[in-house]
């Protein structure tokens, strides 16, 4: 039971953060990790049992980027029912923007030693930088573009789709088509984004070598900070009246229309915000993995994001973060131990979650699941009963 008179008297931010147990835990973990991991990585000697090797820092940083990507998908899917199967596109665009900055930072240290042109352009016999590469030698510009380009694409795409009232599975299909089209476009050499190979061989970021332990730890902390900030923004959106409208759209779109809301504007807003978050995730991802190529646009990857969210628990935000960690850790583990089984495992996981954990792993934890009236066991029981009847 919520006492609204109490709730609305509190400063909103403090109010909804305190009520959000899962979010508090997530933010606490992020703060602790952003302090402890760099200490364990940089200050403790390698012989120490608590030393965190650099590869681990980067791996965790990569997971954090995936978690942010999952968060962005949960914001639209869990709260507004927009099932985007093309969110990898926004992630990749953010990544390319960062990659372009990192390419320009190489300067004349490339194989061909050209101070202005990245290696692949010299290789293609290009003589000058294409206009759309201008400005990417400036960090702030690349960061702005990493958010602006995905945001703009989402805005235009969303404007057309939502205005024409494309919903449900049709929307999912055209988002797949969108990311596939971008995949094909970025494969082309004359697009000017490195074609098949993408952008790689990065040297440094803001003057710090990308190979150094300190930079790795810094990127890890940045990933923690941005995941935390985006979580707070997403939580703020979902707790506002706008968030209530989004949930209402998810549950009964036409009722919202007949109540006088412009459903398409609400969807457009949250879709664009979500794409910007995905772009930020991409921009943080690229310096930590050291490469961005058209493979990131692959439709299958975008579907995988949805699986992370489903596994973690849709519509909770922190569930998406958890799901991204669980599935990606499993991926790291399986592709290391028995690579042939990874896809089987992923498919099996998705089926199992859909059947037995409709609210994801988070829904299985009674303290979280009961908030929405269904615990893990009752969920299983319900599913089994339903199955038995059928």
């Amino acid at each position: 039971m919520t006492d609204y008179s109490q709730k609305y008297k509190m400063t909103p931010v403090v109010g909804w953060l305190l009520q959000d147990r899962g979010g508090m835990i997530l933010l606490a973990i992020l703060i602790a990790a952003s302090i402890l991991i760099p200490i364990c990585s940089l200050l403790l000697p390698q012989s120490s049992a608590f030393h965190v090797p650099t590869w681990m820092v980067s791996l965790l940083g990569k997971y954090l980027c995936y978690a942010l990507l999952a968060l962005s998908v949960d914001l639209i899917w869990g709260f507004c029912g927009i099932l985007s199967l093309g969110h990898g596109a926004f992630f990749a665009l953010g990544g390319y923007a960062m990659g372009m900055y990192l390419m320009r930072q190489i300067g004349d240290r490339g194989v061909y030693g050209n101070p202005d042109l990245p290696d692949f352009m010299v290789f293609l016999n290009w003589t000058e930088l294409p206009w759309y590469w201008y400005g990417f030698d400036m960090f702030w510009f690349a960061i702005v573009m990493a958010m602006f380009v995905p945001g703009l694409l989402a805005f235009v795409f969303g404007f057309l789709a939502f205005r024409s009232r494309v919903t449900g599975v049709y929307l999912s299909i055209i988002t797949q088509a969108m990311t596939y089209a971008l995949l094909l476009a970025f494969f082309r050499n004359d697009m000017g984004f490195g074609g098949n190979n993408g952008l790689t061989d990065f040297k440094d970021l803001l003057g710090y070598s990308l190979q150094s332990d300190g930079t790795r730890a810094g990127l890890f902390v940045a990933s923690c900070v941005f995941l935390g900030l985006c979580y707070i923004v997403a939580r703020g959106i979902t707790q506002s009246r706008l968030g209530k409208v989004l949930i209402a759209i998810r549950d009964a779109e036409s009722r919202v229309r007949f109540t006088g809301y412009r459903v398409e504007y609400y969807k457009l807003f949250v879709f664009t915000v979500s794409a910007v978050m995905a772009g930020i995730a991409g921009a943080l991802y690229v310096p930590q993995v050291g490469i961005i190529n058209p493979g990131e646009f692959a439709p299958a990857l975008s579907i995988e994001i949805v699986i992370w969210v489903a596994v973690g628990g849709r519509g909770t935000l922190y569930g998406a973060v958890l799901g991204a960690f669980i599935v990606n850790y499993a991926k790291t583990f399986f592709t290391g131990v028995m690579p042939d089984f990874w896809l089987f495992f992923l498919g099996g996981l998705f089926i199992a979650v859909t059947l037995f954990l409709p609210k994801g792993v988070i829904g299985a934890v009674p303290a979280f699941g009961s908030a929405n009236g269904q615990s893990f066991l009752s969920g299983v029981r319900k599913r089994l009963n339903a199955g038995g009847k059928a």
């Binding site: 039971m1 919520t2 609204y4 008179s5 609305y8 909103p12 959106i237 506002s240 009246r241 706008l242 209530k244 409208v245 949930i247 209402a248 998810r250 549950d251 009964a252 036409s254 009722r255 919202v256 229309r257 007949f258 109540t259 006088g260 809301y261 412009r262 459903v263 504007y265 609400y266 807003f269 929405n372 009236g373």
Partner: protein
């Protein structure tokens, strides 16, 4: 053109109807006179036709609702009742005809959100509430006021809004369900909640589609009472199958059949109409 709309019944069908009306009683006579002056109507539907894949859902439908009126619309399945609602609320565009709100605003050019904000509230046949929100939040979302995205993002609940929500909760008899999830309400309570949401929109005209479908007898009675109370403040158009309920409403009735008006008047009057009897019993 406007001359035609204002002064003359636009097809032979209405013509015969009126002739019969003249024989049948003064109520319909008065109606014919009112048609000559559309400036008094809150809802003016004239000569509306719409065809879906060759099926004529509405065929030259004309009727008029006065401000403050409570009107029941009955008709067998497929008579075009829901299509009519769809046209008034902007979900469907008519092929021909005029739909005017308060005799000046052309509703056929506007979309659902515009029409809702103009002051026309619609209740669906199947109770449609926001199931994962509390009863309170359902009413809050329906609360009239800024519908813009950024307005909603930074909205804080005001005392006046809270007072209005509380008042509506009392009206729809859901005081004690305030913090209950709408999904947990009974069927009848969902219907009331939806009516409450319409009231929160502060509409001038309420369109209510089968409000008592699936309700228990006592709920039906309560609902009739509720709608009669509401009709004191707003104009209400109720689409209904249940004759007992329509009798409880005690208002003027329009009978639809195959997309046009078959008869209009008091319930006991239209029930005696041989064509109404044929339509209702003859098939």
């Amino acid at each position: 053109m406007s001359n035609v709309i204002a002064n003359a019944p636009s097809n032979a069908d209405t013509m015969t109807l009126e002739k019969e009306g003249a024989e049948n009683g003064p109520a319909v006579m008065a109606d014919a006179q009112r048609k000559s002056n559309r400036s008094e109507t809150i809802l003016y539907v004239d000569g509306v036709s719409v065809t879906f894949d060759g099926f004529r859902a509405l065929n030259n439908l004309s009727f008029y609702v006065e401000p403050g009126e409570l009107r029941a619309i009955i008709g067998p399945n497929g008579a075009g009742k829901t299509t009519m609602m769809d046209i008034i609320t902007g979900k469907t565009r008519p092929d021909t005809g005029d739909v005017l709100f308060k005799s000046e605003t052309d509703l056929t050019k506007m979309d659902e959100a515009d029409i809702a904000n103009l002051g026309i509230g619609r209740k669906f046949q199947k109770p449609t509430v926001f199931e994962s929100h509390t009863v309170f939040d359902n009413l809050l979302l329906a609360c009239s006021g800024g519908r813009g995205v950024f307005n909603a993002l930074f909205h804080r609940l005001s005392g006046a809004e809270k007072a209005r929500i509380d008042k509506t909760l009392t009206t729809i008899m859901l005081d004690d369900k305030r913090d209950e999830m709408a999904a947990n309400l009974s069927h009848g309570q969902k219907q009331w909640l939806e009516i409450g949401m319409l009231l929160m929109q502060e509409p001038e005209l309420l369109l209510v589609d089968e409000p008592v479908a699936g309700m228990t007898d006592s709920e039906t009675e309560e609902t009739a009472k509720l709608l009669r109370a509401i009709a004191k403040e707003y104009s209400v158009v109720v689409v209904e199958h249940d004759m007992e309920f329509v009798r409880d409403l005690d208002c003027k009735v329009t009978v639809l059949h195959e997309g046009s008006v078959l008869a209009e008047g008091r319930l006991d009057h239209v029930q005696k109409d041989p064509r109404v009897i044929e339509v209702y019993l003859g098939r």
